[in-house]
């Protein structure tokens, strides 16, 4: 649990301090440990940076990360139930 919070807090901080490429990687990691974090942090980033005319890359990356993480979690759960 503390690790999960640490990763999400680091991603949140990186929105304001680290290059966006690093933030995207952290966003993917955050989504793996807590799937809704991907889309939530992506939307939060858009709130601060998006301007009319741009494709909302952060929100899209967040949505993809959340979707992927949910699939991974479901797959792991299924494997655990099988074994």
């Amino acid at each position: 649990m503390p690790l999960r919070i640490l990763i999400i807090a680091t991603t949140l901080f990186s929105l304001f301090a680290l290059p966006w490429q690093v933030t995207v990687v952290l966003l993917l990691v955050a989504a793996l440990v807590f799937p809704p974090a991907g889309i939530l942090l992506g939307l939060l980033a858009e709130i601060f940076y998006w301007a009319p005319g741009f494709i909302p890359y952060y929100a899209l990356a967040g949505a993809v990360a959340t979707g992927g993480a949910l699939l991974v979690h479901r797959f792991i759960k299924t494997r655990i139930m099988d074994t």
């Binding site: 301090a17 966006w20 980033a45």
Partner: protein, 244 residues
Amino acid sequence: MGPIALGGVGLVVVFMLLRTFVPGVLVALGTPLWISGNTLSAGVGTTASFFSDTETLIAERDALRDEVAALQVTVQTTQARADDLQRLLGSRTEPVGEIVAGVLARPPVSPYDLFVLDQGDAAGVTEGARVHGAGGVPIGVIESVSTGTSRARLYSTPGQETEGWVGDERIPVSLVGEGAGALRAEVAREAGVVPGALVYVAGPGALPLGTVIHVENDPTLPRSRVDIRPLVNPFSVTWVTIAP
């Protein structure tokens, strides 16, 4: 979806409503975080050099114990700020009607090649105003404005087209943003554009924006691709002026 996620979704919805109806509030919330981020980024370099030399480390430790050293740091900070502004504005003292703004977020922290600036509507910033870097070099245009902040779209924003000129003959070109400060253009192969030629955009007259670094001449094509590097590196801009 658990209660934490639902709470998060609620929070984001509230933030989006705030962004739509009172955008200044959110940027005001983010400002301290951007400032800490900028300070931390600048501090990383200082810390790296700090640990590289033991003698410096000892000297710095002693200095930090001394209150005078703390005051010196304050003076240095103020001096650096003054130097930045001096570089930006030159030595002119006459009022020019431009607004000086600090850069809260810049590439690569901000995606989309845009600046978040700490001056907005209240200071007289308007949409479409030109943004200049040190020496009056044009770097972008104000995209959106709120009460205390504004967002500037750089000329190098990917896909952004700006009309300009290249070379001493002022050959008209369409400059296309490539991201991270870079631009490109296409000119007729016979135009004779060479690396090192200045690229201009419209301002009061023609203002130099960047220099040609590479001209790709393909004999099978009638036009040459021109790569342009900006005169001002957007990654290191801390202050800008906004011309209404």
